[in-house]
Subunit: 303 residues, 2 copies
């Protein structure tokens, strides 16, 4: 779109942190890009960037401008979607930032179901931790976030919140597998795998373990990938951790999951939401509504 060229270049410079780097990224000469920036600042009437010896950085005015640009781009996308709606073509795009637990079963199922009714709608699913997810929302690079325990909630508008107990995942032959629920101290006395502190699972475990002097989280294997940890169980007998929404025991032969005793470990909170105050594109608005109802059913099924 022609009228956004300047904006695209501006965003490129912000991303790269220097005009020269941005110029390379965007297949243009540094001088040309430099002139675009300067001309824009002239016409805008205010400086946008601080010139540092090692590059450029947005000043407060630039921050405001960039937010405007992102809002504007998002509005324009929505406009286009509306227009194609009224010309009969049902299109749309939904972009989601989510925690890993949603990847294996929940989101694939939901998306496939949705696309059965609206084949023209395309999806974009990215794994983001609690902090990144919120940043993606504010930058309009994701429409919807679905994460466990978002870090700061200021710009996050919650559409639905779901509580789930953390589960310990182990082989069916494991001594603890006979119990209905398992105690934290028992689990931690066996070899276990766990993710890093970036993830809600680990945070829950640590805060719970700190309440007692006799237990501590000492993973034999630590990874940022729940996918890796799940597969590691096939090679060495270890206890892993996961929320039920990321589990589908029927499909993982030989593995069982047992909820941790709620006296030991608090419930985990899965939050579905969007950027506060933003009007989502039609497709995203519908999908977030569908997700909301699915999560509600899930919580009723648990109870």
């Amino acid at each position: 779109m022609r009228h956004m060229r300047d904006f695209e270049f501006l965003e490129g410079v912000v991303r790269a942190g220097s005009i020269r780097k941005a110029a390379e990224d965007m297949n243009i000469t540094a001088s040309a890009l430099n002139r675009r920036i300067n001309r824009f600042e002239d016409e805008f009437g205010f400086e946008i960037f601080e010139r540092l010896p090692r590059g450029v950085r947005l000043n407060p005015a630039g921050e405001l401008l960039l937010h405007h640009i992102r809002t504007q781009r998002s509005d324009f996308a929505r406009l286009k979607s509306q227009v194609s709606d009224l010309s009969g073509v049902r299109r749309g795009h939904v972009s989601i930032a989510c925690s890993q637990a949603l990847l294996p079963y929940f989101l694939p199922a939901e998306i496939a179901l949705y696309r059965k009714e609206h084949a023209g709608v395309t999806f974009n699913v990215n794994v983001r931790d609690r902090e990144e997810a919120e940043r993606e929302l504010t930058e309009f690079s994701s429409d919807i976030a679905l994460v466990f325990e978002p870090r700061s909630m200021v710009d996050f508008e919650v559409a639905y919140a779901l509580e789930q107990p953390l589960h310990a995942v182990m082989r069916a032959e494991h001594p603890l597998a006979v119990k209905e629920t398992v105690r934290l101290r028992d689990v931690l006395s066996f070899p276990h795998v766990a993710p890093s502190e970036k993830y809600a699972v680990r945070v829950l475990l640590e805060t719970s373990a700190r309440r007692s002097t006799f237990v501590s989280v000492n993973p034999m294997v630590e990874s940022e990938s729940f996918d890796f940890m799940r597969h590691y169980g096939e090679w060495e007998d270890m206890i892993g951790f996961q929320f039920p929404i990321g589990l589908n025991t029927s499909k993982q032969k030989g593995l069982v999951s047992r909820p941790l005793d709620q006296n030991d470990v608090a419930l985990g909170n899965l939050f579905l939401g969007q950027l506060r105050g933003r009007t989502l594109p039609v497709a995203s608005a519908r999908f977030i509504h569908k997700l909301s109802r699915s999560l509600q059913k899930l919580s009723q099924a648990d109870a």
Copy 2:
């Protein structure tokens, strides 16, 4: 602003109703303008205009696009105002569409008072009837409307509503001047001036007169200008009509105003408001708030 050039041309074409006319208005060749439009439609992916034998007209997609353009322009103006705020320069612009009654005393006083505190803020005051005012709001050419009995209220967000009895204005020597309040049938039996049906004053008079078969509005002089009607009283003895907010009897020697009996004529409603859902620029938001408080004081003083 460079990135809005296409938008400006589009708006020009919409305004002119034909590419050639618009081209003249905007000092450009018809061919160049034509190519801009076509190129934009190409990039946008949808036709914007219906090509008629006598010119062009927006199609539904174009209507949506134009609304986006106007929103976008208004947002950009607000952004600029925010940016100049944080660079210390207190600037801003307030654009008002109002009924004539507000012109002689109320708005001048309010604006002058406001500008004493914020000398950098500029104002734009235009007389619009009830219908035009609302259209100006939806087109973002006015920020604030202050009108009697707006026509349709769908897009109008009321910030404050003030009830005022219609007054009859006459010379101090007039026989009716001795009364505290005057009856409609008495007033209409004397020669009187009145505005056209476009204005709330006339509508109120007519609806009231229709309730009785014995009285009717028969103005000796009819005008769209309240200013004219006020001055006409200096030349011929006539009764005029006006709302108190447009009157300042102390400054009009020889003239008195008497409220019409409320059993005869309903109260007139003055509405202060803006476009529903729109976030006003800082200056306009503050000014509408100030107006709101002033009107409130006014209504308390009446009671």
